[in-house]
Amino acid sequence: MDRETVERVARAAHIKLTEAELEAYSRDLNEILSYFELLDEAPGCDDYGVNPIDVCDVLRDDEPRMEIDPDLLLKDMNTYEGYVRGPRLS
């Protein structure tokens, strides 16, 4: 994992790294990834799922319902006239 890739990954993950951090994480990640090369040797299979047990066909009926008062949800949020405040868009 070269420096450029670490930078690309950090950008995608929205993590800012200082020069020193970039170096330290590059070192750690490279050590970890070389250990992960073990995976290349591992046997594969076709019939794997998303979960370790079969979770199938769990559905909910289309019935609208409000269980929690939205005011309660918003009480600790930074809001303005009912809107949630966020950063600048562009």
């Binding site: 990954v9 993950a13 970890i32 299979c45 979960n51 370790p52 929690i68 949630v84």
Partner: protein
């Protein structure tokens, strides 16, 4: 039954061991029993931070199903236990808040990531603690603190209200100094919950006594052990044989692939779960909103996430990125199936797979600070396989090292077969002389 505990005593104990991040404001002496819960389970009356600075101020408006069911059973929630940030660690030292101390030696770690839960279970009388295991976070601290700990089958206990680490791996379980509590409280929490689809496919939890007849010890599981752990484990095997249990050594070749596969799956999922923490909506929210959103999010995340959280976010973002996804993420999913098949093969002829829980006893804090990230990942190699497979597993205390620190062994049963583990714990408790730590204030 009434609760024999005062707030003064609770605070004094917590000052010494730092098991709780948040505590109840008063003691409910009329409650049926006391319990605590790992701080990644949401609770209405207490701040829930999952060990992270980024969530300071998050006061959930709903109880996790597991906590709600314990309360309905008459439980009094004493406190929320300290943990590695989002569960990212083996020693609870990666907490963004407080680091719990081992009740057998406060210079040593409790293990992780449910370290505060194991600590509370060891220190308080008649107390159970809810832990969460992703890669071994219940059994590891149970082993280090000398208590019983069980993570049931994936999907047995609803994850509604759990602050996610790896959604295909996380399991809520129990830690206690009393073996019988495993059966009792897993029964309280288990069962389908329409709020968590993965809990809705479980068969009923069985409770008739089912004694263990035979265990398989994988040769790959007894490599790299410390002398103390090796000898305690061998003594325990002799005890098991005396109890009439067959012990057979087997090969389990998939075990060595479980660790890298686990870290790929866990960090891939974690990095998506942690994407939501951007300084809006909950937890820490004060920042300069006139920054462009990308910069606002990045600066916020960089400031409040701890070192290990950042490392796992970077690792997990990489392993699922276009171009690398097939080599890491997709392959790890396949390896999980291979590990499950390996367990099924062995468990067709045995009641459980058995190995020591951790390769060493609870390390000192100063030794932990010298370990690299990979060193501590590798320390989980015994607890990871059962966790990636979603099979129920349990650590029981099985001896003490020359340093006086507890040692545990871990039984792994087939999916949905918690019963054989409950019975084993109850039978073992009659044979084993458990040492409770001396609680000093």
């Amino acid at each position: 039954m009434s609760i024999d505990m005062t707030m003064e005593r609770m605070r004094a104990i917590n000052d010494r061991y730092l098991m709780f991040h948040a505590m109840a404001e008063s003691v409910d002496t009329d409650a049926g029993f006391t319990f605590s819960a790992k701080d990644n389970l949401t609770s209405k009356d207490m701040e829930t931070c999952a060990g992270s600075k980024i969530l300071i101020g998050y006061k959930p408006v709903f109880d996790a199903t597991s906590i709600a069911r314990m309360r309905e059973e008459g439980g009094f929630l004493m406190g929320k236990t300290n943990m590695d940030e989002f569960g990212f660690g083996t020693f609870s030292t990666n907490s963004g808040l407080e680091v719990p101390r081992n009740p057998h030696d406060v210079e040593r770690a409790c293990g992780g990531s449910s370290g505060g839960s194991a600590c509370a279970a060891a220190v308080f009388e008649d107390h159970v603690s809810l832990g969460v295991s992703t890669g071994g976070s219940i059994c590891c601290p149970a082993s280090f603190c000398g208590v019983y700990g069980m993570a049931p089958t994936y999907g047995r206990v609803s994850r509604y209200g759990l602050i996610d680490y790896g959604n295909s791996l996380d399991k809520i379980g129990i830690l206690s100094a009393k073996a019988g509590d495993l059966r009792r409280y897993i029964n309280v929490m288990a069962g389908k919950d329409p709020k968590d689809p993965t809990s809705c496919v479980q068969p009923e939890l069985k409770n008739e006594e089912r004694s263990m007849k035979s265990v398989a010890v994988p040769k790959e599981g007894i490599e790299g052990l410390s002398k103390d752990v090796e000898s305690a484990f061998n003594n325990a095997l002799e005890d098991l044989k005396r109890m009439g249990i067959d012990v057979e050594y087997v090969d389990m070749p998939s075990l060595r692939f479980a660790m890298p596969a686990y870290y790929v799956l866990a960090t891939s999922e974690a990095s998506t779960n942690l994407a939501r923490y951007v300084g809006m909506r909950y937890g820490q929210q004060e920042g300069d909103l006139s920054l462009k959103f990308d910069d606002y999010f990045s600066s916020f995340r960089s400031e409040y996430f701890g070192d290990e959280a950042k490392r796992r976010i970077l690792l997990g973002t990489y392993t699922r990125m276009a171009g690398f996804r097939d080599r890491y993420y997709a392959k790890a999913l396949q390896v999980r199936k291979v590990v499950i098949d390996d367990y099924k093969r062995i468990l067709a002829d045995h009641d459980a797979v058995l190995a020591p829980t951790m390769p060493f006893t609870a390390p000192r804090f100063d030794d932990i600070s010298k370990m690299s990230a990979l060193d501590s990942y590798k320390a989980d190699y015994l607890t990871i396989p059962a966790n990636i497979a979603g099979t129920p597993h349990m650590s029981v205390p099985c001896g003490y090292g020359s340093d006086g620190m507890p040692i545990g062994m871990q039984f792994v049963a087939d999916h949905w077969d918690e019963n054989v583990l409950f019975t084993m714990a109850e039978d073992w408790e009659k044979e084993f002389d458990l040492r409770r730590p001396e609680v000093t204030i």
